[in-house]
Structure formats: structure tokens, C-alpha cells
């Protein structure tokens, strides 16, 4: 599982987001990208999935660039931070189907908490899947929730 973070640390809020993320995910376990083109390359690197992307868009232009990468973001769990609350920005934001959407003037502690839960859920899914394919039936139901299908 990869955690990819996009955003400039030089703009207001960017450094705060990074600090919050680093407070919950150990150093070296997060890949940071400061430009959309670098993020595009990072997304083209094929690796085992269940990845998460935290996208901090500080401007309308950045959001447009991220939107143009939506085909590469389709399978990722996205946490999206929008540059403003205008209707059209919110509409573009939701078109990326983020698991959580907030704004650059919000409390980034919430972003960290959501990220922590997303990471835990995905870690659990990967572990349960690996154990089930290893033939441990006890985990089968846990992996599939309480469902009996």
C-alpha cells in the first residue's frame, strides 16, 4: 500500500497538511509530490494497490491539473483539500469521488484522522486477504464483514 501526498509546502496550509500526515505515518512511508507532473509519474509506477492519495490543491489551476489525472486516480482512496468553497470547485472535487473532501482553511487534524482510518482499513483488508488466500478460514468472515454470502 502506498500513501501519496500532493501539495506545495510553500503555500499556506501546505506545510500544516504535511506535518499532520507525518504525525501519523512514519517517515519514509509517504511519498510527497510537489507538482502534478511528478504525481503523474508516481501514479504511473505500477505497484500493489489499495493506495491512498492526499491531494492538497491550493489553486483552481492545480485542481484542474489534478482533475486531468482522474483516470490514474480511479482506484485510489482520495482525501481532497480544495482551494475554496465555490460551487464549481466543489463540483470538480466530487467528480474525483473523494473518500473525504475538505477545504484549505479547515482543520487539518480532521484530514489526519480520516487518513489514519483509511490506512488502517486498507492495511486490514490487505492482511485479511493475504491470510485468507493462505488458507486461514477464520479470517474469511472478518474480511467480508459479518456477511454470510
Amino acid at each position: 500500500m502506498r500513501v501519496l501526498v500532493y501539495g506545495h509546502t510553500k503555500v499556506a496550509g501546505g506545510r500544516d497538511v504535511r506535518r499532520e500526515i507525518e504525525s501519523i505515518i512514519p517517515e519514509g512511508k509517504v511519498e510527497f509530490f510537489s507538482s502534478a507532473s511528478k504525481l503523474q509519474l508516481g501514479l504511473k509506477h505500477p505497484e500493489n494497490g489499495f493506495s491512498i492519495a492526499v491531494l492538497f490543491c491550493s489553486s483552481r489551476n492545480e485542481l484542474s491539473k489534478i482533475k486531468s489525472l482522474s483516470h490514474l486516480l480511479a482506484d485510489l482512496g482520495i482525501v481532497l483539500i480544495l482551494p475554496g468553497r465555490d460551487d464549481d470547485l466543489v463540483t470538480i472535487g466530487h467528480s474525483l469521488l473523494p473518500r473525504y473532501l475538505t477545504f484549505r482553511d479547515s482543520d487539518f487534524g480532521e484530514v489526519a484522522e480520516v487518513l489514519r482510518r483509511l490506512v488502517n482499513t486498507r492495511k486490514y483488508m490487505i492482511a485479511a486477504m493475504a491470510e485468507e488466500s493462505a488458507g486461514n478460514p477464520a479470517l474469511e468472515e472478518r474480511f467480508r464483514g459479518t456477511a454470510v454470502y
Partner: protein, 472 residues
């Protein structure tokens, strides 16, 4: 006016039925043999075939698939002898739309004809709609998937709330998207709420929003996701994770289609359509007091249960082809060949993580084979290769006797009992292998085994072998 073909060797019965069909305003043609009937269905469009069972050139039940496989795919109504419940059951199991007992009465023929033509009209209408559906990322042609796609079509045509269930990785979000983007709300937002990702402290404010000063830190108002979904669709993913208090609050929103933001003094309306999804058994949760049954009732106006990948193995080849093509394009690499052993392994694995796991495995394999033109089994993730190796080892234990009942030290059973046990086990294995090797194609299974359709169905029924999971 419908076109009806009557296959009946008794001239009087055929003439009487033909007369009834004509009196009901339809066109009818009769012929006395299966061969002649199949010839006719190949050369014209037919809506319905009335088929006798005992015909000069064979059992009518064995030819139902042949009639249905013709270009116009007519419905088949079987005419059975009076008081033959087994014949009626076999007729339905063989794919007939209905059966009628002889002697035929005008009222029964009229009713049956009316129903079948109504059904046919609806089916054709739905098929037309399905062909027009935008189903991005939903791949496969199995019956189970087709049934889900049919429900997507129905859901897209109406405003009812939808509950999508299925194991992790079966594509619940893809189906939610398909419903939204094929509905009248497609131009408006599809708003995702991941109930598993939101901590309890955040769910309420995220859904309902809040006014300035509603709580410490709320230095400005924030619009909630329910309002953001106004005129669009709200997709409540992992709905089984909602706390009881949030279930209560959300039920009210569903009933009223309005809510009050935290710290707000007035109700705000939102015209959203709800799609919820979960991998949990909400009925079991409801019985255990963990999920409100009134909310479950509301959510399940339309229920779509997505089959796990292991239940639709016939779709795997199509999925692999689609996903690899997508990956080659996304990563900008030259398409690679997939070795036969690679495909065999992909088809043998059970995919507990479903389509998502398949996608990830293909991504890993293609990545590992970056410099090679062919993708081999060794490029698959190690946990999958290990699992396959374990399954193969289990399937061929060296020291397992062919007949355990006859192993040294085992108490010998009476001859008849022992023979029955061994024969039954052998039959079960044989028919499982037969259905698997013919990919559930009954006609092919009959050809390979040399059995008639009726005998084959009896064996499948006896050993509880399902051909579900294989495409029609």
C-alpha cells in the same frame, strides 16, 4: 401480432392449438418434428414455440436450448402429459418459459400466451435499455452480472433508494456510479460519504454541516455533504459502519429530505437520491440490534447484491483482457502477452479480494514483467502463487488411496453400501469436472457425456451441482 411455432406430431392437437392461436389474433405454423422445427426457427423470427415432449425424432425437452439459441430467441412453452409433475419440473429446469398440461384448454392457452408475450415485450424493452446503459468498468457476461445490470437499468429509471451489497472488491462503487450516470441526475453531483473513514466525531458535521460558532473551532459555517448532493446522488458507502445515533438521525433525513446543520436554527431541504453500500449482512446486524430495521427497510427499496468473482468464473477472462488493456494504456507500455500458464493460474485462484484483488495482481504482474514481452506465473504476487501451490498440493495428496473405504485397517462396509458410496463420490466428481470443462454449457455437457438433458439435470440435482457462475 405474434408469430407462434407449434411442434406437435399429433395432427389433431396441432390443429386445435393452431386454431386457438389464430383466434387470439396471432400467426401460427405447425410441424411434426424437432428437426423441422429447428429448421424453421433458423429461417424466420418467432416469438413463441409450443413444444411437445414426445416427438418422433427425440425428446422435446432436449432441444429447448436449440430453439432458444436461434436468432429470434423465442420463448418455449412445453406441452406435457396430464399428471406428470416430473415432466413439468424438468421443462422449467430445461429453460422453458412455462408448461401446459394436455388436453389444452382455450383459457389456459390464452392466459399463457398473454403472459409470455407481455414478458417478451418487457424483456426486449429492458435489453434495449441495457444496451444503452453506460457501464464504465463493469465487465462480464455471466448471468449473475447480467441480473445486476438489469437492476442498474431499473434503478436508473426511477428515484427509489438503492442498497448495494457484496464482498469487498466486487465493485459496489462502480455500480453506484453506473446508476447515477444513467439516471436523470447524471448532470449533477455524485457525493461519496465513506462511513468507515469518518470518525464518529466527524460524521455528523460532515453530513449535516454546521453554522459558525456551532462548536469550538467552527469559526465559519460549512456546508454538509447532504446539501452538496442536492439534485444529485448521495452515495453512503460502508453504511453498516454508521453508529446507532447517526442511523436515527439519517433515517429522519431520508423521511423528510431535510435536515438541520449543527448549531443551525432552521431546516434545510436537499433533494438527493440515496445509494447505500455495504459488505456487511445488515439483516443479521438488524437482528442483533446493531442496525435499525426501519432504516434498512428504507434503504432497500431496490437491492442489488453483487456476486463475488469466484461465483462468476466465466467473467475472469473478459476481465483480465479489459484490465490489462487499461493498465498497458495507463502506464504507457507496449502490450504484453500473457502466458497460458499465467491465465490458468488466474482462473484457478479464488480471488477473495474479488475484482480489486485481480486488478492489483495484474498491476503487480505487469510491473514485475516490465522488461519482458510475456507475463508468466512467477510475475504474480507471491501470496497468490503460494496459495495456488497449496491448493494443488492438497488436490493431489500422494498417499491418499483411490478408495478410502478399502484402505487397510478400515472396517469393511456391506458391499452395496460401499459400492453406492464410491459410485456417488465418483459421480459427483465427474459431473463437477464436466460442468467446469464445458463452462456450464448444458448442450456441450450432453455431447461430451453422451447423456440426455433430462438425465444430466437429474445428476446435477442429485449432487447439488450448480452451473451458476458460467455464462449462458
Amino acid at each position: 401480432m405474434a408469430k407462434v411455432l407449434i411442434i406437435e406430431d399429433d395432427f389433431d392437437v396441432a390443429a386445435a392449438l393452431s386454431d386457438m392461436v389464430t383466434r387470439l389474433g396471432h400467426e401460427s405454423t405447425s410441424c411434426p418434428t424437432i428437426e423441422e422445427g429447428i429448421g424453421k426457427t433458423g429461417s424466420a423470427d418467432w416469438d413463441l414455440v409450443f413444444l411437445d415432449v414426445r416427438l418422433p425424432d427425440g425428446n422435446g425437452l432436449d432441444s429447448i436450448d436449440d430453439f432458444k439459441a436461434s436468432a429470434s430467441a423465442p420463448e418455449v412453452i412445453v406441452m406435457t402429459g396430464y399428471g406428470d409433475p416430473d415432466g413439468a419440473e424438468v421443462a422449467i429446469r430445461s429453460g422453458a418459459w412455462d408448461y401446459l398440461h394436455k388436453p389444452l384448454s382455450f383459457s389456459n392457452v390464452r392466459l399463457s400466451l398473454k403472459r409470455v408475450l407481455q414478458y417478451r415485450e418487457n424483456t426486449l424493452k429492458l435489453q434495449k435499455q441495457e444496451k444503452q446503459l453506460k457501464l464504465e468498468g463493469i465487465v462480464g457476461s455471466s448471468r449473475q452480472l447480467a441480473a445486476c445490470i438489469e437492476l442498474v437499468g431499473q434503478a436508473a429509471q426511477c428515484e427509489a433508494d438503492v442498497l448495494i451489497t457484496g464482498e469487498t472488491g466486487t465493485g459496489k462503487e462502480l455500480f453506484a456510479r453506473a446508476i447515477h450516470f444513467n439516471s436523470a441526475r447524471a448532470r449533477n453531483r455524485l457525493v461519496v460519504v465513506d462511513c468507515a473513514a469518518l470518525p464518529d466525531t466527524l460524521v455528523e458535521s460532515a453530513l449535516f454541516g454546521y453554522e459558525r460558532g456551532a462548536f469550538t473551532g467552527a469559526d465559519r459555517a460549512k456546508e454538509g455533504l447532504i446539501k452538496q448532493a442536492d439534485r444529485g446522488t448521495l452515495f453512503l458507502d460502508e453504511v453498516g459502519e454508521l453508529s446507532m445515533s447517526m442511523q436515527k438521525a439519517f433515517l429522519r433525513v431520508l423521511q423528510e429530505r431535510s435536515f438541520r446543520p449543527l448549531g443551525g436554527s432552521r431546516e434545510i431541504a436537499s433533494d438527493f437520491r440515496l445509494i447505500a453500500a455495504t459488505n456487511r449482512d445488515l439483516d443479521a446486524m438488524s437482528r442483533n440490534g446493531l442496525f435499525r430495521d426501519d432504516l434498512l427497510f428504507r434503504l432497500r427499496s431496490i437491492a442489488i447484491h453483487l456476486p463475488p468473482l469466484r461465483m462468476r468464473p466465466g467473467d475472469i477472462v473478459e476481465l483480465v483482457s479489459h484490465l490489462t488493456e487499461q493498465l498497458f494504456e495507463s502506464f504507457g507500455i507496449t502490450p504484453k502477452e500473457l502466458s497460458p500458464e499465467f491465465m490458468e493460474s488466474v482462473l484457478s485462484y479464488t480471488w477473495p479480494g474479488n475484482v480489486r484483488e485481480l486488478m492489483n495482481a495484474l498491476r503487480t504482474a505487469i510491473s514485475a514483467a516490465t522488461r519482458e514481452p510475456v507475463v508468466f506465473v512467477r510475475h504474480l504476487p507471491v501470496n497468490i502463487r503460494a496459495s495456488l501451490a497449496r491448493s494443488r498440493a492438497k488436490a493431489q495428496p500422494e498417499d491418499t488411496p483411490v478408495f478410502p473405504e478399502m484402505s487397510p485397517g478400515v472396517t469393511v462396509s456391506p458391499f452395496k453400501q460401499s459400492r453406492e458410496t464410491i459410485l456417488s463420490e465418483w459421480e459427483k466428481k465427474y459431473f463437477e469436472a464436466l460442468i467446469s470443462s464445458t463452462k456450464g454449457n448444458i448442450r456441450e455437457a450432453c455431447r461430451v457425456s453422451g447423456l440426455g438433458r433430462t438425465q444430466l439435470y437429474e445428476m446435477l440435482k442429485k449432487h447439488r451441482i450448480s452451473r451458476l457462475g458460467w455464462p449462458d
